[in-house]
């Protein structure tokens, strides 16, 4: 994977910029039909792009990557798997139960420019990063003026 860098020092400003951009440009991002309800989403997803690729970040702490299935079909990216479920053992009292457990499935409609032959995924620090290359003929090109 090329050019990994850390977050910029002033991450908060960057995040606020992101939020403004989101509100301005992408309020129309389609929501999956299974995800309309108010239940907390697991994993939470962020999406970004560079000229070369689309990046999907799934905030999925504590999953087993070997038991997680990522599929791309007809421009729909699906991330499915299972975390837990865990139950209290004998003699234990559950005082808080906020974390997601059970089967999860999230779907994202991707733009047509995504090349299904260029997909990579890695899991680190509880975040599943999926890189989807963009079709080269759809990349922005600079046209020189003669």
């Amino acid at each position: 994977m090329l050019g990994w860098i850390r977050f910029p020092a002033n991450l908060w400003d960057e995040m606020q910029r992101l939020e403004r951009e989101l509100d301005r440009l992408f309020t129309g991002w389609p929501v999956g039909i299974r995800e309309v309800g108010g239940a907390p989403l697991y994993p939470a997803i962020n999406v970004g792009r560079t000229p070369e690729a689309l990046y999907v970040y799934c905030f999925a702490p504590g999953i087993d990557p070997a038991k997680t299935e990522i599929t791309l079909e007809q421009g729909v990216l699906t991330i499915a798997g299972e975390r837990g479920p865990w139950a209290a053992k004998e003699g234990q009292t559950v005082l808080a139960n906020e974390r997601f457990s059970g089967k999860f499935k999230r779907t994202l409609s991707l733009p047509d420019e995504v090349d299904p032959d260029q997909v990579e995924a890695r899991y680190r620090d509880g975040v599943l990063t999926i890189r989807l290359g963009r079709k080269t003929h759809l990349m922005p090109r600079r046209i020189e003026i003669a």
Partner: protein, 135 residues
């Protein structure tokens, strides 16, 4: 007396905080936790995806247990954000520990964005079986 040994989430301070502190507070989200108690102590799991081992801080000050972590994802250069459900770059949450718990004995594990804390009860607070002599 039936005193619970529960690390309860502390409520926000009612005194007005300086603007800087308010701003810092706003950047952080509460990590989701599971907490389970048994006879020997309390186990706490917290979801902190995107936090590296170096970016995690677990602190005990007095009777307050504070967990915080900064999200530090490796990002490609020139990444343009399109959509975000995670918008805060930081997690932070505090709990008060009751006197039965032994802060010195806390052990922590952190793997794949999940923090596991084991907080033992102090020896004197652990239940003892008392043999009843008959006769």
């Amino acid at each position: 007396m039936n005193e619970r040994q529960v690390p309860t989430p502390t409520t926000q301070t009612t005194t007005p905080a300086p603007a800087q502190a308010v701003n810092e507070e706003r950047q952080a989200v509460l990590p989701r936790v599971d907490i389970v108690e048994d006879e020997q102590g309390i186990t706490l799991w917290a979801d902190l995806p995107g936090v590296s081992k170096e970016g995690l801080e677990v602190k005990v000050e007095g009777d307050t247990l504070a967990i915080s972590g900064n999200v530090a994802l490796p990002l490609p250069e020139g990444l343009e954000p399109l959509y975000a459900e995670v918008r805060a770059p930081r997690y932070a949450r505090q709990f008060t520990l009751s006197r039965e718990l032994d802060p010195g004995g806390i052990s922590a594990q952190f793997q794949d964005g999940v923090l596991t804390l084991r907080i033992p009860k102090a020896q004197h607070a652990q239940p003892r079986r008392i043999a009843v002599q008959v006769g």
